[in-house]
């Protein structure tokens, strides 16, 4: 393909090819401090392509392709090429990841122990992870945490943080010197802006952590904390993992082991300061 870039996020290497230069330039710039894939061979190949040749220039529209593809996926306008690349990389992970159990959770680490925050889009896991990282936690990821079935450790996947709507301003307030991608206004999910994780997160991306706490945050409610029963936590985590079934017995062992080994807590919070306080309190108590 005419334009291409390779990069590694945590243990996963990507090769991204594109019919247009702009998305590759943006990726190259925002991911400039990230390493290359191991042995220069990427785990996944992603393609941003024009379905018809003339679509490269007239109302350019980016189709998402790669090793794993969804036939019905709708294309995005070229100005949202960075979002298309993110979605394409997510798709490869979701459909192809086998070495790690993919948890749909953000993660931060302190003293070698990780807090995992899981929930649907909008529950606040990305924002919470970003704010905790501004308070001294090491940022491990905003969307995926990788659980190693062999060791039970969680590995970082610190991709560009995908911030939506109000979360953009909140994150910039906490990280005023952070490098940001372009503002992508009016996407199907609202306004989106990407933030590059801090230097410490990038430098430590290959350092795993021991899972210590599993949180189910819920934004927009009066502050409350409750224990989540193991069976409920297990079911919610299987629903939140795209490759649980594909991993078979090691996945079963890893997830039941995780649920059995660490507390599962649901926290409701009205605002981020409240959430951060709740998390700190929960961790101080252990």
């Amino acid at each position: 393909m005419r334009h291409a870039v390779s990069l590694r996020i945590g243990p996963i290497g990507f090769r991204i090819g594109s019919d247009w230069r702009a998305p590759i330039d943006q990726l190259r710039s925002l991911y400039r401090d990230y390493p290359q894939p191991y042995d220069e061979v990427a785990d996944y190949t992603v393609r941003l392509f024009a379905r018809r040749r003339w679509r490269r220039w007239i109302r350019p529209s980016v189709e998402i392709g790669g090793d794993y593809m969804l036939p019905e996926a709708a294309p995005l306008p070229l100005r949202q090429g960075l979002l298309a690349a993110e979605m394409a990389m997510n798709l490869q992970m979701a459909l192809g990841a086998r070495r790690y159990l993919l948890l749909h959770a953000s993660a931060v680490e302190r003293d070698g122990r990780a807090v995992l925050m899981t929930g649907i889009s909008g529950a606040g896991k990305s924002t919470l992870a970003t704010l905790l990282a501004a308070r001294g936690w090491r940022f491990m990821g905003d969307e995926f945490a990788l659980l190693d079935p062999q060791t039970g450790l969680v590995h970082a996947f610190p991709r560009l943080i995908s911030l939506k709507n109000e979360a953009i301003a909140a994150a910039q307030a906490a990280w005023p010197t952070a490098r940001m991608g372009p503002l992508l206004a009016s996407t199907p999910k609202g306004d989106i802006r990407h933030m590059v994780p801090d230097a410490r997160a990038i430098a430590a991306m290959d350092v795993p952590a021991t899972p210590a706490l599993l949180l189910f945050p819920r934004y927009g409610f009066a502050a409350a904390v409750r224990s989540v029963p193991p069976a409920e936590a297990f079911v919610r985590m299987t629903q939140a993992s795209t490759n649980y079934v594909a991993l078979g017995e090691p996945g079963f062992a890893a997830l039941t082991g995780l649920i059995a080994g660490i507390p599962s807590i649901a926290i409701d919070y009205p605002d981020s300061d409240s959430a951060v306080a709740q998390v700190e309190a929960l961790c101080a108590a252990r």
Binding site: P230, A231, F234, V235, V245, E249, F252, A253, T256, A260
Partner: protein, 94 residues
Amino acid sequence: MDDAAPVTFRADPADARRAAPLDAFTAVYHRRSGITHLLTEPAPQILAILSEHSLSLDALLTRLSQDYDLADPMRDALAARLDELVVAGLVTAS
């Protein structure tokens, strides 16, 4: 009056499954299918008995009452549980 032999039920031996207790539920990984099931009483007990013996519905009802201190295992409820286990592939009926 029906003279046909009653339907008997059977489960694979215990090592065909891997169980992880989680409060009132037990997560069960069925190795042959790769499917994870979430079972609650009396399903794990039913599987334990049927792993060892091939039994009819009534014989199973008797065994359950004898071996386990289960809350009121009614025949209809047991038949429904067995049906679910057959559909799930954990029990075969013949």
